[in-house]
């Protein structure tokens, strides 16, 4: 048996949740949609395709400030931040929920990132399955699926004048207790089949026979802005900046990206490397290196397609995967070093 919630009941339920929780949901602005804390149900864009920016910013805000004190001996203490209320993230798509599974791998490693842990533990994910595939979507190529319930607490699948409801976790059970769902004899549609996650086949570091490809086909075109990393649901690099004033200390943390020339100056790793190396690093980190290092079983790309749409010069990760596959075929298996 599945349960079903009408569109009217859903709005009533969300309205109830709004009383004790921060409700983060897709809302329209400037012709686009963004995940934002909403004040009333009318502000939610229920008919959105996907948001311009990923919901990662709720868990890993673009800028965070930790405040603290400087003791007499110069010792500094930073105070962890606590959310005022529990939160509900409504409308997250399965690809973006997979994105959280990726950032979990990074921020939950012991001892963990206090701010991320606080936000992640106190937020319940109410996902909405995708019924249409847009031109930029490729989640089924990355081991996810438009209606995968794997990474959310509750998944809603639109059906007529309501949604089929799948409750996946205890957190989801607790939240949906007062949702006003009815029993339904309709089955949830089967999960859209997915291929195993795509991985770039070549060695991830050091000199490689594919460098001409990166230099001439990709790096020449890239303008090295931060768009791809900032719209991405999995990119997690950040920069910090400390401010000390009158016995108080503030630590700012803001998103950063490996595509910025300043980043490499700080990291050192690619300081004198040509642009192509920087480009190659981005894709190799997302595809073979991330699962290798963190044992995630899936790549740090979820196929949401935001970078495909937003890149000013059309650097398309799907095309890169195809090209590298072709390259591998052309040089022969034995010459292509394994990842």
């Amino acid at each position: 048996m599945t349960s079903f919630i009408t569109k009217t009941s859903l709005k009533t339920w969300l309205g109830t949740l709004l009383k004790d929780n921060t409700l983060v949901a897709p809302a329209a602005a400037a012709g686009l949609t963004f995940f934002r804390p909403v004040e009333k149900i009318e502000d939610i864009a229920f008919d959105f395709t996907n948001t311009a920016l990923s919901p990662k910013s709720w868990f890993f805000p673009q800028t965070e400030t930790l405040s603290g004190e400087i003791a007499g001996n110069g010792h500094k203490t930073l105070n962890p931040e606590a959310l005022e209320k529990n939160a509900v993230l409504f409308g997250i798509r399965p690809c973006d929920a997979r994105g959280l599974a990726v950032t979990d791998k990074v921020f939950l490693i012991t001892p963990g990132d206090t701010s991320y842990i606080e936000r992640r533990q106190r937020t319940t994910l109410v996902g909405v399955a995708c019924l249409e595939e847009r031109a930029e979507c490729f989640c089924t190529r990355m081991g996810s699926s438009p209606n995968s319930p794997a990474d959310v607490d509750i998944l809603l699948t639109e059906d007529g004048d309501g949604y089929l409801v799948q409750v996946m976790t205890k957190k989801g059970q607790t939240l949906s207790a007062g949702a006003g769902q009815q029993q339904s004899d309709k089955a949830v549609p089967p999960i859209v089949p997915t291929k195993p996650p795509a991985r770039l086949p070549l060695k991830s570091a050091g000199p490689s026979p594919d460098m001409d490809y990166w230099d001439q086909s990709i790096a020449d075109r890239c303008i090295h802005c931060n768009i791809c990393a900032f719209v991405c649901p999995t990119c997690y690099c950040f920069d910090t900046f400390d401010i000390e004033k009158e016995g108080k200390v503030e630590r700012l943390r803001s998103w950063y990206t490996c595509q910025s020339p300043n980043f490499e100056r700080i990291e050192g790793y690619m300081a004198d490397a040509p642009k192509g190396v920087r480009m190659r690093h981005r894709f190799y980190h997302k595809l073979p290196l991330f699962p290798e290092q963190l044992g995630s079983g899936y790549a740090a790309c979820t196929g949401c397609g935001r970078c495909v749409v937003s890149c000013p010069v059309n650097i398309d990760i799907r095309e890169i995967m195809d090209d590298v596959e072709k390259f591998r075929a052309s040089v022969g298996e034995e010459k292509a070093p394994q990842a």
Binding site: A29, A30, G31, L32, F34, A52, L53, Q62, T63, T65, R134, A135, E136, Q216, D220, R221, I223, H224, C225, N226, I227, F230, V231, D239, F241, L252, S254, W255, S260, N262, V308, V309, S310, C311, P312, V313, N314, D316, R318, E319
Partner: protein, 287 residues
């Protein structure tokens, strides 16, 4: 007509590369959506077949000349792109003898983003000062004297807002800014080795993505292009959160046009008013 331009571009690229007049040819090819276009770098004559030109060729390719200073490079340039090259020449950023300009008599381009080719002309094409590039080595199309008068209707509308409304309008726009700096990185006029926003000492705008710092970033970016912006619409086109940056740029363009009767990028010999120093300006201002 578009096909004719495409064929002419391919033919010229092949010729220039075969005869080794240039080592690199920068033009456009179809993007992965098969609707819009993207920049293409051609190094071998046989790759010239990939080149195209149509009304989705929105990118200002002159920016890439800054990365090819040591390579003899040909570039496809619409009039506004050629105006950017003029600005770069004025400011001694590129060498004329290293550049071969394929000028295109431009019918205008459409507002297009990946996945949708669009039908509306871009904001830059309204009020375009010239449909023939001011500078070229080889011209594709028939030169025309047609000039559009910029009516600045968008700018006037902004000026007519009250101070409080205008401030509220821009605060709302800038609070969406994610500081990706795509507006800077796409701009041919932004070539500082270290941008003020990346400086930690002195700190002009910090790393905090917050109202005050976003305000600082967006305004200084626009002011640094005062009398230099050639309306290519690049910054506004690439903005992932739809901030109407051209409105700021165009306001400044209007001010410079009124104060100095100057439109940037039209004359390779004319220096920008704000980059010019005259001895007589040392005199005490008249009271």
């Amino acid at each position: 007509m578009d096909d004719k331009i495409t064929l002419a571009v391919r033919e010229k690229a092949k010729e220039l590369l075969e005869q080794k007049v240039v080592d690199c040819f920068i033009g456009y090819e179809k993007a992965t959506d098969n609707l819009t276009s993207r920049p293409l770098f051609v190094y071998k004559p046989e790759q010239a077949e990939r080149l195209v030109f149509d009304n989705t060729c929105v990118h200002n390719l002159s920016k890439y000349l800054l990365n090819k200073k040591d390579t003899k490079t040909a570039v496809v340039a619409k009039p506004c792109d050629a105006r950017a090259i003029v600005v770069l020449l004025n400011e001694n950023q590129v060498q004329r003898e290293k550049i071969y300009i394929i000028g295109i008599v431009c019918p205008g381009v459409v507002d297009s983003r990946w996945g949708s080719a669009g039908t509306e002309p871009e904001v830059r094409c309204q009020g375009c000062p010239q449909h023939t590039p001011p500078l070229y080595d080889f011209l594709i199309g028939e030169p025309t004297d047609e000039v559009e008068q910029d009516a600045y209707t968008d700018v006037t509308a902004m000026e007519e807002m009250g101070d409080a409304d205008r401030e509220a309008f821009w605060k709302e726009q800038f609070q969406r800014c994610i500081r990706c700096y795509a507006c800077r990185n796409v701009c041919p006029g932004c070539y500082c080795p270290v941008c003020f926003v990346d400086l930690k000492e002195p700190l002009w705008a910090g790393i905090r993505v917050a109202p005050g710092e976003n305000w600082m970033w967006n305004n200084i970016r626009a002011f640094h292009l005062l009398g230099r912006c050639i309306d290519c619409n690049g910054c506004q086109r690439v903005c992932p959160v739809n901030i109407p940056l051209m409105l700021l740029n165009r306001k400044l363009k209007k001010e410079v046009a009124q104060a100095f009767a100057f439109i940037p990028g039209m004359d390779p010999k004319a220096l920008a008013p704000l980059a010019t120093f005259k001895k007589e300006e040392l005199a005490e201002p008249s009271k």
